[in-house]
Each structure stands twice: as structure tokens, then as C-alpha cells.
């Protein structure tokens, strides 16, 4: 399908565990273990899971930041994995990081931070660069006076927008946003989320949105993938996942979100306890002998679930 800008097929990222006298490989940590994702152009795909479920590793693999054990990643029809990879593609994939405090170099001015990707890929004169940075600052809603300031002079939300400006400097086609708002207060979070949606519309961006906050994900994404121990357990539209979750893990995850409606508290609590019991009793059925989730099965046009294979 040419409609998909990003196609991940059976991605595996395994880390060797070494030990013993000769430091031989004893075992592997299967951080990502057979994940396939297709992301259509201009949409936002949310990757959700607990810490350690492999969502960030998947994002990093797409960025080329960690090595891929097996599987292919196709971006815009080009293969990113394996030999002969084209650097050019990396220009089109950019990342927004979680922590706006540590992802900006404190010793660099905003100008230097934002021009760094530009310098790597485009040869511009100083004046052109200044113009580009001013343009970018305008897009992310920061005043021109910000250009020669240092990161510490900005609030958390403003910093995160500097991070966004840096990410969109090269006019990428795909942005990987790794927990972009989890370090921010709700009021600031709203600001960054609004603004990411605006930019997406304007620049026709595709986003891979990695988060553990389901409320945020529901707000931002059109498709969702739920990860559990390196594998997808359920995939579908936001509606599929939130209103018709099929996998026990997803059900439990959805039920665990604290609801701000005080009328629902009792009901939620009952549901949550019920699911907890079910989870403790039956969850083993949802995993194969090695403790891995089963392969995904199509249950509707958009909805795929890793239900146990009935034998």
C-alpha cells in the first residue's frame, strides 16, 4: 500500500544479556519482539503501553537510534533497515523528546539549537538561517526576541515548543513524539497538544505518538497500538480501543484511567476490581507458553486483537 508512509514489519530488537567467565551471551532481552505497524500519511498513530513494554524502543528503531535484530522498516517506500540505508530519509524523520529540560543543550542559544539540523543538511548563509529560525519561531508561537536566548529563560511549555521547532526545521514527513507532554502541567500540556495538532494540519505531518497517558492519546491519535512486553496486543481506531476493547490487558488499561467525572467513580471501581480478578485468573490464557502475546487477528476492518488461538 502506497498510502502508508511508515510500514514496520515484524520488527525485533533484542539485547544480549552477557555473563559468565568469558562474557558470553547468555540470553536475550526481547525489548521489541515482532511488531508490525502501518501508519497512513497525515495521521497520528499512538503507541501505548507500560514502561518497559518496548514503545520507546520501537520509536528509536525507526529513528535509527538502535540496532534492529530482525524485521524491516519501510519509510516512504525506502527501506531504513539493513545495508545501503539512505541518510536522506533521516532528514524526513524527526523526534520530539519527553523532557524539555534535558533535551535542549543548556549552553546553546535557541538560534544554535534550531539551526543545528539545518547545518547538517542544508547549506545556508547566516542571513538565511536567521530568517528560517524566525519563521520557525513564529510557527511555534514564540516571539522573535527568543532567538538569542538560552533554554533556561523559558518555561517548560515554551521549551517543548523549541524542541518542536527543531524537529520541524527540516520539514520532515514523520515525527516521532516520545511522551512529549508527560513532563508538563495540564495547562501547559493543553497548549503543546493544541499546537502539535495545528502544525500537523499545516505541514501534513504524520506522527508516531508514544505515550502512556491514555487521555492524551485519545485526544491526539486516530489509530492506537497497545503494547505489552514487546508485542502488540491490540490495534485499532480510538473508538475500537476505548469503546470496544477486546484484549484483557487493554480492558484493564482503559479501566485504570482515573475518570474526572465523580459520578463514575463507584462504577469504575467495581469494574476495575472485576477486571483485576479476571486478570489474575485468566491472563495466562492470553499468553503462549513463553509468555508472549499471541499474533494479532483481524476482528473488524480496523480492529486487530491478539486473542488466544483456540486449538
Amino acid at each position: 500500500m502506497s498510502n502508508n508512509i511508515l510500514e514496520i514489519k515484524d520488527l525485533k530488537v533484542h539485547y544480549p544479556v552477557r555473563g559468565g567467565f568469558f562474557n558470553t551471551i547468555k540470553d536475550y532481552v526481547k525489548a521489541v519482539d515482532g511488531v508490525s505497524i502501518n501508519v497512513p500519511v497525515g495521521t497520528t498513530y499512538g503507541l501505548v503501553g507500560e514502561s518497559g513494554s518496548g514503545k520507546t524502543t520501537t520509536g528509536k528503531a525507526v529513528m535509527g537510534l538502535n540496532h534492529v535484530t530482525e524485521g524491516t522498516i519501510m519509510f516512504n517506500g525506502h527501506e531504513l533497515t539493513g545495508k545501503g540505508k539512505k541518510v536522506d530519509n533521516h532528514k524526513d524523520i524527526q523526534m520530539i523528546f519527553q523532557d524539555p529540560y534535558s533535551s535542549l543543550n543548556v549552553r546553546k542559544r535557541v538560534f544554535d539549537i534550531i539551526t543545528e539540523p539545518l547545518n547538517n543538511y542544508e547549506s545556508l548563509t547566516k542571513a538565511e538561517r536567521v530568517n528560517r529560525v524566525l519563521e520557525l519561531l513564529k510557527i511555534v508561537g514564540l516571539p522573535p526576541s527568543a532567538i538569542y536566548k538560552y533554554p533556561h529563560e523559558f518555561s517548560g511549555g515554551q521549551r517543548q515548543r523549541i524542541g518542536v521547532a527543531r524537529a520541524i526545521a527540516l520539514r520532515p514527513k514523520l515525527i516521532i513524539a516520545d511522551e512529549p507532554v508527560s513532563a508538563l502541567d495540564v495547562s501547559v500540556q493543553a497548549q503543546v497538544l493544541n499546537f502539535m495538532q495545528e502544525i500537523q494540519k499545516e505541514m501534513d505531518l504524520t506522527m508516531l505518538f508514544i505515550a502512556h497517558d491514555l487521555g492524551v492519546v485519545r485526544h491526539m491519535c486516530s489509530y492506537l497500538g497497545i503494547m505489552y512486553r514487546g508485542r502488540l496486543v491490540e490495534e485499532g481506531t480510538v473508538d475500537d480501543i476505548f469503546n470496544n476493547p477486546q484484549h484483557l490487558y487493554t480492558k484493564r488499561l482503559v479501566a485504570a484511567i482515573p475518570d474526572i467525572d465523580v459520578d463514575h467513580v463507584e462504577k469504575n471501581l467495581v469494574l476495575r476490581n472485576q477486571l483485576k480478578e479476571e486478570y489474575e485468573q485468566n491472563f495466562a490464557d492470553y499468553l503462549d507458553e513463553e509468555g508472549r502475546a499471541f499474533p494479532l487477528q483481524q476482528i473488524s476492518d480496523t480492529h486487530r486483537v491478539a486473542l488466544p488461538v483456540r486449538s
Binding site: K138, G141, S155, D185, V186, A190, P258, I260, V262
Partner: protein
């Protein structure tokens, strides 16, 4: 009406910035009854943690004024020795980050026994047995083995359970939980909250729950105090806060959370930022700079917290004619521009 467990009267905690003291907690009064959960909500920098730390006597360099009455004793008059007797005993605290709250060099059991020996007179053997019981109590499977483990061997959720086990070790009358689940995943968060609720009902303790997650508040709290820039701006039972919020800040905050109704739509953005301590105008309604479309005449000077309905306290008169307004991006940039210009001289100084 039950006797108040904790009564905080006009608590003011000030930090020294460049030679002068600035109040981070400004004239805060609140009460907690036994068996009650009071949630303290606000953005970072609103003074909610500073309030908790002042109650616990953990701010050694700050100037603290006002009264903190706990079971008839004024804690602000306590010296370090007196504090040590009640901290971890009658008042216990659950910290935000279980990674740093535990001693990495001590076994779990030793850390629990430590609090037990300081506050009790039982033998070492009994204490060790009780430590394992406590671990079971907070829902840790294989408690015997976990007791022998070091913190790094446990997951985040397990560590937070251990922190809670230590907190409840001496059956505290007051439990202060400072963002107890912020560092945890949602499923584990749900478990930890259930646990805190269960223990609280069991022990009949009062709980001061500090959080910025309004979902957690809705599930846990009996009453809610909303803080902004060091002051309580609204104090009401939990239903009232969510169903009938009055103060502009509370209302803005509630509409800025992604919810089902506004899925994919625009979220409400509160203009501007929380002002820095030393730049705060303390004579006006502190939220007024962030709602500039509300006429100055709607605010009062030196706004007070008043009971507008039974049990529902609101600061300032501006709530009466308040309406939400969306700001467009250009206005927002303009405002931030001014903000930056103003900050250019002082820079962002952190709280002490």
C-alpha cells in the same frame, strides 16, 4: 462533627531570594478530619508541596509563620528532636519518587525495621516479623524474599508499595501523600490508589493528598483545595469542585484536560505562566493577569476566601461574572513576548 485531626491556620512559608523573603505558601488555612482525604491541587510552583513540607517541618531554611495544630500541638514550635518523634510515627509521608525515597544500600526489611525501632519498643525479632507482615499488607507477593532484597531489585510499583509500607508501619493518624503515583504507570497507579484508600479506611487516618492529576482527585478525595500562586483559591467537597466549580482557575484547569467530549478538538489554554515568587503582585487577585478579558472591577483588592455556599469557599469576587475565552495563538505569543521581556532582567530564578 468529628474533631479536626490537623488544623493549619494562616500558614505562610517564605523563602529567601536575593536577601528578601517571599511567601511561597501564603496564608493557607485548612483542616483534615480523621478518615478524610483532602486533596491539594495545583500546577507546579503553586505551593502545594511547600505546604506539605512545612507541615512536616522539612523546610529548614524557610521562614514559617502561622500555626499547624496537630492533635492540639503546634508543630511550628517543634524542634528537630520533637519532630523526629512524630515523623514516621503519628504523621507519615509518602514521597513522589520511590527511586529516591528508599536507601539503595539497605535491605527492604532493614528500612522498615528502622522506622519501627525508632517509634516502638518491641524486640528486633518481633519488628522483623511485623515488617514482613506489612509487606504482605501492601500486597507484595513473596514478602519474605522481597524483605531481603535491595531497592534496585524491585520495580517502580513494588518500591512505591515499600514506601507505603514504611509510611503505615506505625499506624499514622495523618498520612501526607505527595504525588504518590506520578512516577507510575496507570495500571499500577490504580493499584496504589486502591491501596492507599483501603489503608486509610482501615486505619481511619486523615490523608493530605497532593497531586496535579484531577482524575486521581475525583477518585480519591472527599474535599479539594485548589492552590494557585501560594494561595488556596477554592475549597469545596469533591462533587462541588467537579460539578459546580466556581473560581476561574479551577474552571480553566478543568477545561484544559483532554476529555471524551472534546476529543480531537482544541483544548482550553490558560494564558501566560504562573508568576515567579518575587514578581508576584500580592495585592490583587493573583489569577487576574491570566484572565485579562475580565474587567478589573470584577476583582476585589486583597481578595479573601469566602464561604459562598455551605462548605464551598472561593477567593475573590471575579468568579461571579467569569466566562472562559479562547485565546488565539498570536495573542498568546504577544503575551509571552511581554513575559520574556520582563524576565530578561531577572531571569528565571528557581525557588530555593
Amino acid at each position: 462533627m468529628a474533631e479536626n485531626l490537623l488544623e493549619v491556620n494562616n500558614l505562610t512559608t517564605s523563602f529567601k531570594i536575593g536577601g528578601t523573603y517571599f511567601a511561597a505558601v501564603d496564608d493557607v488555612s485548612l483542616t483534615i478530619k480523621p478518615n478524610e482525604v483532602l486533596a491539594l491541587v495545583g500546577e507546579s510552583g503553586s505551593g502545594k508541596s511547600a505546604t506539605a513540607f512545612s507541615i512536616m517541618g522539612l523546610h529548614t531554611k524557610a521562614r514559617i509563620e502561622g500555626e499547624v495544630n496537630f492533635l492540639g500541638k503546634d508543630l511550628t514550635k517543634f524542634g528537630p528532636n520533637q519532630f523526629n518523634k512524630i515523623r514516621g510515627g503519628e504523621i507519615a509521608m509518602i514521597f513522589q519518587d520511590p527511586m529516591t525515597a528508599l536507601n539503595p544500600l539497605m535491605r527492604i526489611k532493614a528500612q522498615i525495621v528502622e522506622t519501627l525501632t525508632i517509634h516502638g519498643k518491641k524486640s528486633k525479632n518481633e519488628n522483623e516479623k511485623y515488617a514482613v507482615e506489612l509487606l504482605e499488607r501492601v500486597g507484595i507477593a513473596r514478602a519474605e524474599q522481597v524483605a531481603e532484597a535491595y531497592p534496585h531489585e524491585l520495580s517502580g510499583g513494588m518500591r512505591q508499595r515499600v514506601v507505603i509500607a514504611i509510611a503505615i508501619a506505625n499506624r499514622p493518624k495523618l498520612l501526607i501523600a505527595d504525588e504518590p503515583t506520578t512516577a507510575l504507570d496507570v495500571t499500577i497507579q490504580a493499584q496504589i490508589l486502591d491501596l492507599i484508600r483501603e489503608l486509610q479506611e482501615d486505619l481511619g487516618s486523615g490523608v493530605l493528598l497532593i497531586t496535579h492529576d484531577l482524575g486521581v482527585v475525583a477518585e480519591m478525595a472527599d474535599r479539594v483545595a485548589v492552590m494557585y500562586a501560594g494561595e488556596i483559591v477554592e475549597l469545596a467537597p469533591v462533587r462541588e469542585i467537579f460539578k459546580n466549580p466556581k473560581h476561574p482557575y479551577t474552571r480553566s484547569l478543568l477545561t484544559s484536560i483532554p476529555s471524551e467530549e472534546q476529543m480531537g478538538g482544541k483544548l482550553h489554554v490558560i494564558q501566560g505562566v504562573v508568576p515567579a515568587l518575587h514578581k508576584l503582585d500580592r495585592t490583587i487577585c493573583r489569577f487576574s493577569p491570566r484572565i485579562p478579558w475580565i474587567d478589573a472591577s470584577e476583582h476585589e483588592e486583597n481578595p479573601e476566601l469566602r464561604e459562598v455556599e455551605e462548605g464551598h469557599w472561593v477567593r475573590c469576587t471575579c468568579y461571579k461574572n467569569f466566562y472562559l475565552k479562547e485565546t488565539n495563538a498570536e495573542d498568546l505569543a504577544e503575551l509571552e513576548n511581554q513575559e520574556l521581556e520582563r524576565d530578561a532582567v531577572g531571569g528565571n530564578e528557581d525557588e530555593q
